[in-house]
Amino acid sequence: MTAVTRRLLDLRFWPAPRAGARASGIPESRRMLWIVLGAWLLLAVGVPILHLAVPASSALHLGAYAVTLGGKILCYATVALAMDLVWGYAGILSLGHGVFFALGGYAMGMYLMRAIGTDGVYGSTLPDFMVFLDWKQLPWYWHGSDSFLQQALLVVLAPALLAFVFGWFAFRSRIKGVYFSIITQALTYAFMLLFFRNQTGFGGNNGFTDFKRILGFPLASPRTRAVLFSLSATLLVLSLLGCRLLVRSKFGRVLTAIRDAEDRVRFCGYDPVGFKLFAWTLSAAICGIAGALYVPQVGIINPSEMSPANSVEIAIWVAVGGRGTLLGPILGAALINGAKSWLTVVAPEAWLFALGLLFIVVTRWLPDGVLGLFRRAQK
C-alpha cells in the first residue's frame, strides 16, 4: 500500500472530529468508503468485462453506445462534484465552469489532432482545419503538442491557471454572490467567442474532431473504449475521495464557515482569499481532467462546450442532486443526463421544458435536492 492509500484508509481522516459524532461517525464513514470502492470496482472492472468479454448475443452485453454514454456521464458527474466543492461548500456559484472543462478538453484535443498524423482528409502533417485555412505551419502555441505528456500537463495547468488568475482578482476584490456568478458567465462566453474565431487556431466553430488514436491505440476499438471508461470511473472515485477528505478536514470547516459568515472568518484571523482560491483552482483542475477524458470518448470538442447554457446546466445537476453533499451532484448529473439522452431520442422538443420544470420543482420543493429527499425518507 502506498502512503496515500494508507492515509485514505486511516480512519482518523474520516469524519467525526468530536465526541458525540465519534461513536457513530467512524463506522458510518468506513461503510461509505467500502460502498465507494465497491461502486468503483463495479464500474471500472465490471463494465469493461460486460463490454469486452460478454458476447454481443448475450443480454448482459454492453454495447458501444452504452459504454460511451456511461463514460460521458461519469465525466459530467466529476464536473458536478467539482462544482459542488465551490458552490455547496464555499458558497461560490460559478456559472462558467464549462470553460474549465472545455480547456481541459481542448488541451487533450490538440494532442489527439496531432496523433492523427497524415491520416487526415488532406494527408498533411498539419491538422485538417489548418490546411483548410491555408496555414503552412503550426502556430507557436501548438509547439510540442504531439507530446502526450506536455498536453496532459496542460489539461491541468491551463484551467488551473485561468481559475487562479481570475479567482485571485475576484476574491481579493471581494466579489461575491450574483456578481461573481455573472462575471463567470461572461468569462465562459468570452472564451467561447474567442474559440469560435478561425484565427484563434483551435478549429473555429467546428473545433476538433475525426480523432484516430490515443497513444497509438485506435479510438474505435472496444478495448480503448473500455479503458477510457475505467479511467473516467477512477477519476470520479478519486475526486470523490479527495474532495471528501478535504471537506471533512478543518479546511472544509473553514470553507463552510466562509460560506455562512465570511466576516466572522476574517475576524477569526483567516484570510478567506486563500481558502476560496485553493478550492476554486482545485475545482477547475478537476474539471479540466474530466474534459480531457470526455473528448476522446465522444470524439469531438468545439466551442459550444463553453456556451453559458452548458455551464448553467452544470449548476442544475448540482442543485437537483443536492448541494453540499458531494454524492448528490454525482447523482444529479447521472439522472439528468440519463433522462436527457433518453428524452432527446423519444421527444427531442420536450427536453428543455422537462429541464425547466425539474429546476422549478427542485428549487420550490426540494431545496436539498434528490439526496435530501432520500435522507428525509430514511428518517
Binding site: R12, A19, S249, K250, D260, D263, R266, G269, D271
Partner: protein, 251 residues
C-alpha cells in the same frame, strides 16, 4: 505575536477622523484603553461607535489620525485578519457564528493556531487546544451543548458562543457591540458576570445602549456624540455632566 504594553495602553486612538461623502462619522476622536480595563462606550445612534470599531479592526481606514494596538501594531496599516491575529477580537451586534457547525467546531475554527491554508488542511486540535476549548465551553456555559448545531442555540447562547469564539483566540482586547441586545434579564445578568470575570485578563470595550447593563458592569464610561468624545469618567460623573444630559440621557 506578543503585545508589548509595557510602556502604555492597549489601545491608543489619537485624532481619528473618518468621513463618508463629507459626513464626518468620526471627528478627531481620541481614546485610550489601559490593560485589563473594562470600558463602556455609550452614545446615541450615529455617534460613531460602530465606525470606531471598524477603524480598530481594520475594516475602515481613517482619513486622519493614529490608531495603535500596543506599541508595535499600527492599526491603520494591518489587514483585518492580521489585526485579529495580533489579538483584537470583535463581536458583532447580531450574533455572527457558523450556524451549520457544532458549538465545538465553531470554537475549533476560531481557535488560535496557524491559520494559513495548507496547515489548516490536516490540522486537528492538540490535547492542550482541546483543553482550552473545554475551558472556554465551561466559561460560556455551553459545555453540555458542545455537539449541538449552533443554529439550534437560543439567541443568548449564540451571543455567548460568539464571545467564546473570541476567547479561544486569546485576544488582548475584546470589542463587543451591544452584547446583551435581545437577551432576557437572566441572560443579561449572566453576560454581565461573564464580562466582569474577563476584565483584568483581557481589556474590554463594550458598546451598549442598555443603561442598566452599563451600570452593572461599568468602571469607566466614554460618551460619544457626532463622532466626537463628549465626556469620559465614572458612570456617576458622566451622568451628571450637563452636555451628556442634553444629548443623550435627558431625552
Amino acid at each position: 505575536m506578543n503585545l508589548d504594553t509595557a510602556a502604555g495602553p492597549v489601545l491608543y486612538l489619537d485624532g481619528v477622523t473618518v468621513s463618508f461623502d463629507g459626513f464626518k462619522a468620526l471627528d478627531s476622536l481620541s481614546l485610550i484603553v489601559e490593560p485589563g480595563e473594562l470600558r463602556c462606550i455609550i452614545g446615541p445612534n450615529g455617534a460613531g461607535k460602530t465606525t470606531m470599531m471598524d477603524v480598530i479592526t481594520g475594516k475602515t481606514r481613517p482619513d486622519a489620525g493614529e490608531a495603535h494596538f500596543g506599541n508595535h501594531n499600527d492599526l491603520t496599516r494591518l489587514s483585518e485578519p492580521e489585526i485579529a491575529r495580533a489579538g483584537i477580537g470583535r463581536k458583532f451586534q447580531k450574533p455572527t457564528i457558523f450556524r451549520n457547525h457544532t458549538v465545538f467546531e465553531n470554537l475549533e475554527v476560531a481557535l488560535k493556531t496557524d491559520k494559513r491554508v495548507f496547515p489548516t488542511v490536516g490540522a486537528r486540535p492538540s490535547p492542550e487546544q482541546e483543553a482550552r476549548i473545554d475551558e472556554v465551553l465551561e466559561l460560556i456555559g455551553l459545555r453540555r451543548k458542545a455537539d449541538q448545531k449552533a443554529d439550534l442555540l437560543s439567541h443568548g447562547e449564540k451571543q455567548w458562543l460568539e464571545i467564546g469564539m473570541l476567547l479561544v483566540q486569546d485576544p488582548k482586547l475584546l470589542l463587543l457591540d451591544e452584547p446583551v441586545a435581545g437577551m432576557s434579564d437572566e441572560e443579561t445578568a449572566r453576560t454581565g458576570e461573564l464580562l466582569r470575570s474577563l476584565a483584568g485578563r483581557h481589556s474590554l470595550v463594550v458598546v451598549e445602549h442598555d443603561m442598566h447593563f452599563v451600570e452593572s458592569i461599568a468602571r469607566k464610561v466614554t460618551v460619544l456624540h457626532e463622532g466626537r468624545l463628549l465626556a469620559e469618567g465614572t458612570l456617576e460623573a458622566v451622568r451628571t455632566d450637563s452636555r451628556v444630559i442634553d444629548v443623550y440621557l435627558g431625552r
